[in-house]
């Protein structure tokens, strides 16, 4: 039974289409990952789920409560940890948690108990009474996470919670998220870190340009790719014409599937080779017949990056790089300001 249902939601900011008919279903008690490069629409999806912005169209429900019509009720169910940690620099961490507790109408006794529990759980004892303006990135993230958990939400929504964090803070947050999931909380985590989603998520969606391009468990998605991933190069930097010729050769070999040209990596060719067949000798012969030599050949177990590559024709890193400079972060920030 799905606890969170998202059906065909779309959202545009003037000429930018952030989400295009995105749908997903999340069962209760799941640690659910939303993976995608910067600019894919993750933050917009998260902000819609956190009731900060409304979609242009589509339906969303959490625990069968319509999110758009009953946003106040939804806010009682969710905890939200934003991508950019916004703390009041003048307040101490404890004052901030106290302030946040009052916004969630937690009574005085319960408030003190919850704050103490979270301080211990997130190992914040040493610095909780210092002003937030003196905190490091990891400390800020931990206090923000504590603020999101004060009212014991049914759903915790986190937008890239470990970006730029030190290993200690990252491990503490990862462990806490696992514990929360084990305690029955539904956790939604957006990230562009493959290893984070691979290690933590029970289920995930991969989004690109505002659309879901793959969904399932990490194992399911990787298994769908079949055998081992092979990356082939016939020279260090090839070209489109040459790459297309090699694709033709490879497609004629029985046992080679899912052939993709990876433009961003010097027109290398990625494909899946059937584990049962020893294809390397045949590959060499066929390439030599067309006057090609193998420059490099790498074999790897399928990863979530391969899933992304398979669906989009580029790796997640390349997608990140191609987005760099295209996004006007200042403009996006202004557009998302109330």
């Amino acid at each position: 039974m799905s606890y969170i249902k998202v059906k065909e939601i779309s959202k545009s900011y003037s000429d930018i289409h952030a989400l295009k008919g995105l749908s997903m279903e999340i069962p209760a008690g799941t640690l659910f990952g939303i993976l995608g490069p910067n600019g894919a629409g993750k933050s917009t999806l998260i902000k819609i789920l956190a009731t900060l912005i409304e979609p242009d169209s589509g339906e969303i429900s959490i625990n069968n409560i319509n999110l758009i019509k009953n946003s106040r009720q939804i806010r009682e169910l969710i905890g939200y940890v934003a991508q950019d940690v916004a703390l009041d620099k003048i307040l101490t961490g404890r004052e901030l948690l106290d302030f946040q507790s009052d916004l969630y109408h937690i009574n005085k006794n319960k408030k003190i108990e919850r704050i103490e529990t979270l301080i211990n759980q997130l190992e914040m004892n040493d610095w909780i009474d210092r002003k937030c303006g003196t905190y490091s990135g990891g400390m800020k993230r931990r206090i923000d996470l504590a603020a999101g958990l004060l009212h014991l939400p049914k759903v915790l929504i986190l937008d890239e919670p470990t970006v730029g964090l030190d290993i200690e803070s990252r491990n503490i947050i990862w462990q806490l998220l696992k514990d929360l999931r084990n305690d029955g909380m539904t956790v939604l985590l957006s990230s562009h870190y493959l290893d984070e989603i691979d290690k933590l998520a029970d289920r995930l969606i991969i989004i690109d340009h505002g659309r879901v391009i793959a969904q399932g468990t990490p194992a399911q998605l990787k298994n769908k790719l079949g055998g081992d991933r092979i990356t082939l190069k016939v020279r260090e930097f090839s070209n489109q014409e040459e790459a297309e010729k090699i694709c033709e050769i490879l497609s004629s070999i029985d046992g080679i599937t899912q052939i993709i040209i990876n433009k961003a990596q010097g027109y290398s060719i990625n494909f899946v080779a059937d584990k049962e067949k020893d294809l390397l000798p045949k590959l060499k012969v066929e390439l030599a017949f067309s006057n090609f030599e193998i420059f490099s050949l790498a074999q790897s177990q399928p990863s979530l990056d391969d899933v992304y590559l398979q669906a989009t024709g580029k790796t997640l890193l390349d997608a990140e790089i191609s987005m760099t400079g295209k996004r006007d972060l200042k403009k996006e920030s202004k557009q998302s300001m109330r």
């Binding site: 009731t51 900060l52 009720q73 806010r75 950019d84 009052d102 109408h105 109330r338």
Partner: protein, 274 residues
């Protein structure tokens, strides 16, 4: 009924928390409070001294220029504080702190606006009382109890009026630079185009018209009259080019302007906060 009782308590709880946050900020960064008190006091000394040798009867209805100036500076202090009240909200918008408030299940997001009103009203009262005490020490008088009621009623109306405009600007303008620039542009010209520093009879005709339409004048004149000790709401407080206005009329106009501004900003606040 039970639900309504809880809602009222929750509204109080969240408004109190939001107001408390503003006062913690003020306590740890008291420069705004100090500047807001020091500036009018310096003005009181300097401007008060400026016309100290003016002939008797130079100003209508008062003994000295300091006597005349006090009311103007009380209003100007409250006005400046209220005009700046949008700044914390603007910073919360810019730094994303407002999102923290908006994802919380607030009983009413009106609490965000209410907290700003409470904070500025209390701050303005504290600053005004300090200026009134300094004026008294300098020999510029003290209003009677009835007059004090008029002073604080007028100040509440002015603060509500200006704060609502400032909060509105904090939501409309793109950033704090633009808001500060606008405050700079509005602040002093409105002071000079009012009766804070000089009566209308001293002004050229066009400025007299401007001053007699300026909302600050409608706050200054009842307070000035409150200092005369013969406080009567039916007393003529303002000799405007379009006719004489009593204290009651001035306060009524201020009340009307406040209501209009609250009605105008309501749809904007609803759109921005819901």
């Amino acid at each position: 009924m039970e639900l309504k009782k809880y809602n009222l308590f929750f509204l109080y709880q969240e408004t109190f928390a939001l107001t408390k946050r503003l006062f913690i900020q003020l306590k740890r960064r008291p420069s705004t409070l100090l500047a807001g008190i020091l500036q009018p006091i310096i003005w009181l000394f300097l401007f008060g001294a400026l016309f100290s040798k003016a002939p008797e009867g130079f100003l209508p209805g008062v003994d000295s220029y300091g006597n005349f100036l006090g009311a103007g500076l009380i209003v100007f202090t409250a006005f400046s504080g209220a005009l700046n009240s949008g700044l914390p909200l603007m910073f919360d918008r810019e730094f994303g702190f407002l999102n923290r408030l908006l994802v919380a299940p607030l009983t009413s997001r009106l609490s965000i606006v209410l907290s700003a009103f409470f904070y500025i009203t209390i701050l303005s009262f504290v600053q005004s009382i300090v200026i009134m005490i300094v004026s008294y020490v300098l020999g510029y008088g003290w209003p009677n109890l009835y007059g004090l009621g008029i002073v604080f009623t007028t100040l509440i109306l002015l603060v509500l009026f200006v704060t609502s405009i400032s909060l509105c600007l904090a939501f409309i303008l793109p950033g704090h630079i633009e808001l500060i620039a606008l405050i700079f542009v509005i602040n002093l010209p409105l002071l000079f185009a009012s009766t804070a520093l000089a009566p209308i009879s001293f002004m050229p005709n066009w400025l007299g018209w401007l001053a007699s339409l300026n909302p600050l004048t409608f706050a200054i004149e009842p307070i000035r009259t409150a200092y005369t000790q013969t406080m009567d709401l039916e007393l003529v407080a303002l000799h405007a080019p379009y006719g004489d206005l009593t204290c009651k009329s001035c306060i009524s106009i201020l009340f009307f302007l406040t209501m209009i501004s609250l009605i105008i900003i309501r749809p904007l606040l609803n759109r921005k906060l819901n």
